[in-house]
């Protein structure tokens, strides 16, 4: 029997992969030519793929949900013929009659000028050339094309007789695959070859490019060549006397490492993979500040530091329960959005070592007092630089408090792996319109700015905005916690 493989064709133009959506056949099914085997989805369309062979399905080589490269075998079909060539590569196609079928083995079924090639794409080796390479002449030809000594246009009625030119193959065999060797070709007497930035660099340094020997491929003058030429012929060793004469303060150069390096990597990763959207709201938190005093006066909160940040955190936890998208992460590898089971609430802390974001595990399960205690110990430990790695891992949402620096608001960068970060500004006494109708007046109130940045891949403007509105309303009217929690 002959097993034929059907390779994923390019169902559009120039597509390289497709998602397997639904198999319409199962192993053991009999199919005729053009019976629909499966449905695939490409970046352009959802299409049905008909069978190129008649026979029995012997195996489905890819599963539903797989993303498959064009050219990969997706199904094996036993065409029922007893004889025939050894197991075919599957690229062969049925129906040409006789032995021709096997011959098509060289062709990959999907290749009609489009799509990924299954075949060897390495450069074919050239036969050894008979003639000697004449690189200089070639180089001059290249130079000539840049020359402006002859006009590039001509009169429409101007006719120049065709001159026979030598069209013999020139040069040695083309280089094989791999990194190109560094070849140095002396520049001809003609124009110099250098990229525009290098030309500018040379002009800035006062270097005449005509005097510079290019070491780049094809004799192109590189930046290094210009620098080399600009250096004094006899570089005098820098003596101690010189530094004494030039008391200009040196730039300080600090090696990038440790927390700085980690922070840099984290923010770069986050800023350039997660499309950030920031929304903010100015909020009257007078009631929350009043509530703080009530809490502080309670006996069961004795000995615990209670800060406005604690209430913000509580409000955020309440809002997160209603907006789980803000407590999720993007799994690129698995192409899944992970809604986290609990909230591991990160607190951005400025420590002597730099920015740390330790998090409180399962903060949503904690009572307000437990949360307050966790806060104190977390921040205290971080400031001591003693945060254990476990506290830094698996955060799911972060709060950053820039209000402590007397700042109103900002646009925070999401901690990588999370989907949102809440930024709390300073609580300032500000004039605020209260009351309504005839009772409308301006009062001094405690006002803060809340901002949330979220990853737009997971969170849309609606969810991000309503989340922030919930946080704000709980802080404006803490009684709402009874409604929203």
């Amino acid at each position: 029997m002959t097993i034929r493989e059907f390779r994923l064709p390019d169902p559009g133009e120039g597509l390289v992969e497709a998602d397997i959506v639904t198999w319409r056949v199962a192993v053991g099914d009999q199919v005729q030519v053009n019976d629909i085997l499966l449905e695939v989805e490409t970046s352009k369309s959802l299409v049905e793929l008909p069978s190129p062979f008649a026979g029995t399905i012997t195996s489905l080589l890819v599963a539903e949900g797989d993303t498959v490269d064009v050219g990969v075998p997706i199904v094996a079909i036993d065409d029922g013929t007893e004889s025939g060539p050894a197991p075919t590569s599957g690229a062969g196609v049925a129906g040409t009659g006789g032995d021709d079928t096997g011959d098509a083995g060289e062709r990959v079924a999907n290749l009609v000028g489009y799509g990924a090639k299954q075949t060897d794409t390495r450069r074919r080796p050239r036969k050894a050339a008979a003639s000697e390479p004449e690189p200089v002449e070639t180089h001059e030809q290249v130079n000539e094309t840049f020359a402006t000594t002859t006009p590039v246009s001509r009169r429409a009625d101007h006719r120049e007789p065709l001159r026979p030119s030598t069209a013999e193959p020139q040069g040695g065999p083309l280089p094989g695959p791999g990194p190109a060797g560094r070849e140095t070709v002396p520049p001809s007497a003609g124009a110099v070859l250098a990229k525009p930035p290098v030309r500018k660099y040379a002009r800035d340094l006062g270097v005449d490019l005509a005097t510079v020997t290019g070491t780049g491929a094809g004799g192109v003058i590189t930046r290094d060549d210009v620098e080399q030429a600009a250096r004094p012929a006899e570089p005098s060793p820098p003596g101690p006397a010189m530094s004494a004469v030039t008391p200009i303060a040196e730039d300080q150069r600090i090696p990038i490492k440790g927390v700085r390096k980690a922070t840099a990597a984290a923010v770069v990763q986050s800023a350039f993979t997660a499309p950030h959207v920031t929304v903010w709201v100015e909020t009257d938190v007078t009631a929350a500040v009043d509530l703080l005093e009530v809490i502080k006066a309670r006996r069961d909160f004795a000995g615990v530091k209670v800060s406005p940040l604690l209430l913000v955190a509580k409000a955020a936890l309440i809002a997160l329960k209603r907006h789980p998208e803000l407590n999720s992460s993007w799994d690129e590898a698995k192409q899944e959005i992970v809604l986290k089971a609990g909230v591991n609430l990160g607190i951005a802390a400025a420590t002597p070592r730099g920015l740390m974001v330790p998090n409180i595990k399962n903060a949503d399960q904690l009572s307000l007092r437990e949360l307050a205690e966790a806060f104190s110990s977390l921040v205290g430990t971080a400031k001591d630089g003693a945060t254990p790695p476990a506290d830094l891992a698996r955060g799911s949402f972060t709060i950053t408090n820039i209000g402590v620096f007397g700042i109103d608001g900002g646009q925070p960068i999401i901690n990588p792996g999370e989907s949102g970060i809440l930024c709390v500004g300073q609580i300032a006494r500000k004039p605020w319109v209260v009351g309504s109708g005839a009772d409308e007046r301006i009062e001094a109130r405690s006002v803060t700015t809340l901002a949330v940045s979220f990853d737009h891949r997971l969170v849309d403007g609606e969810q991000g905005s309503t989340f922030l509105a919930d946080v704000a309303s709980v802080l404006t009217d803490p009684g709402l916690a009874m409604v929203l929690a």
Binding site: P9, V47, P52, T96, E106, V112, K127
Partner: protein
């Protein structure tokens, strides 16, 4: 304007009932209608087989004419032995009428050539991919045959017309409008045959024209007529009259064949993204083939074995197309130089020689030799 528009010329209703029209009549007999039926079924089979071959990776692309068979066969069968066709890339049914080998159509879509048929002997010019460009070619050609004295002589064996095909989307193109103006100004012997299949890829016709397309002809100064493009008899009657008008030197006509593209724009397109399945179902009831079959069965008393024989013929055609497509030989790159000018220029000969030497300078099989191996029986890849 709807399908039931009184201006729409219809001679065979979707139910397969012949209807009269004051200006147009189908004068052929049932045998001719049987011929149309066969043409349409075979065209549809060619079309579905080519679509399947594309889905199996054997064609790079295919532009399906599913649903437009009546417009193409009706007009294609109205051509005489001298008329010349300038198609888009979808006129597979017209190509069929003019005897172009379907495999040569496939060759273009498989990428083994750029249009392998002889446009002079078949009178079917090469497929034009650029939307609407062929309207100008057609008009120019029509002006040419008029100067050659092939129009209005009264000799049925001599008089010729040109028919230029395009779609509804092309009517928004400058080329088509320029062609209208030239055709009108020079009273060119041309029929502009627009298959209004309702969709310019994803753009519906309502977004492209505020008036029915056929009425645009008024502004250019020649008659326009809207015909039921799914009615092969009406299309044949209307096109015959328009072609006769052109051949006799009375100038251009614009025909809007009101039809529907039942498939995708091309195999690279997914129409479910922009149109409702409901619309397709609506048009399925107006299928151009079903109504002819209904007519032949009910009124013509044609027996089932006729339909069965056409089906068998269609299956055979499909098998021939399939095997022929798979056996199409990839061209040698060297040949491309041969197909630029009628008379080869010395400069190109030089380049061709150079390229041949270059190809020969490789140690292993070049692409050409590897591909030509497909021809060689018994070679195991």
């Amino acid at each position: 304007m709807s399908y039931g528009d009184p201006e729409l010329v219809q001679l065979l209703s979707p139910e397969g009932v012949r209807v009269d029209h004051p200006d147009y009549a189908f004068t052929g007999d049932d045998e001719q209608i049987q011929g149309f039926y066969r043409d349409m079924v075979l065209t549809r089979r060619l079309d579905t087989e080519a679509t399947a071959l594309q889905r199996q990776g054997q064609l790079g692309l295919w532009a399906s004419c599913l649903g437009q068979e009546a417009a193409q066969i009706g007009s294609g069968r109205a051509l005489n032995g001298q008329d010349v066709v300038f198609p888009t890339y979808r006129e597979h049914g017209v190509a069929w009428c003019l005897g172009v080998d379907p495999l040569q159509l496939l060759g273009l879509f498989r990428g083994v050539d750029l249009g392998g048929w002889d446009p002079l002997s078949t009178r079917f010019h090469l497929y034009t991919i650029v939307i609407g460009a062929q309207a100008l070619h057609a008009t120019g050609y029509a002006m040419g045959i008029e100067r050659d004295g092939l129009v209005g002589t009264g000799d049925a064996k001599r008089d010729a017309a040109v028919i230029g095909y395009f779609g509804d989307g092309a009517t928004s193109q400058g080329d088509v409008n320029e062609a209208f103006i030239f055709a009108s100004s020079y009273n060119a012997p041309i029929v502009f045959f627009c298959q209004n299949n309702q969709w310019a890829i994803s753009e519906p016709i309502e977004r492209q024209s505020r008036i029915p397309l056929y009425r645009r002809a008024d502004g250019f100064g020649f008659p326009g007529v809207r015909v039921d493009g799914n009615d092969v008899l009406a299309v044949h009657a209307v096109t015959s009259q328009a072609l006769e008008r052109a051949r006799s030197g009375n100038g251009p006509t614009f025909i809007e064949a009101y039809t529907y593209r039942m498939g995708a724009h091309t195999t690279s397109d997914d129409p479910t993204k922009y149109r409702l399945a409901d619309e397709l179902e609506h048009w399925r009831l107006k299928d151009p083939i079903a109504r002819v079959r209904a007519h032949l069965t009910r009124s013509g008393g044609i027996e089932d074995d006729f339909f069965a024989s056409v089906e068998t013929e269609a299956d055979d055609l499909a098998a021939t197309i399939r095997s022929g497509c798979l056996a199409l030989v990839d061209p040698s790159m060297v040949e491309m130089f041969d197909q630029v000018y009628v008379d080869q220029t010395p400069h190109l000969s030089e380049q061709q020689r150079w390229y041949a030497d270059y190809s020969a300078s490789f140690e292993s099989d070049s692409d050409e030799t590897a591909r030509s191996a497909v021809e060689t029986p018994g070679r195991q890849g």
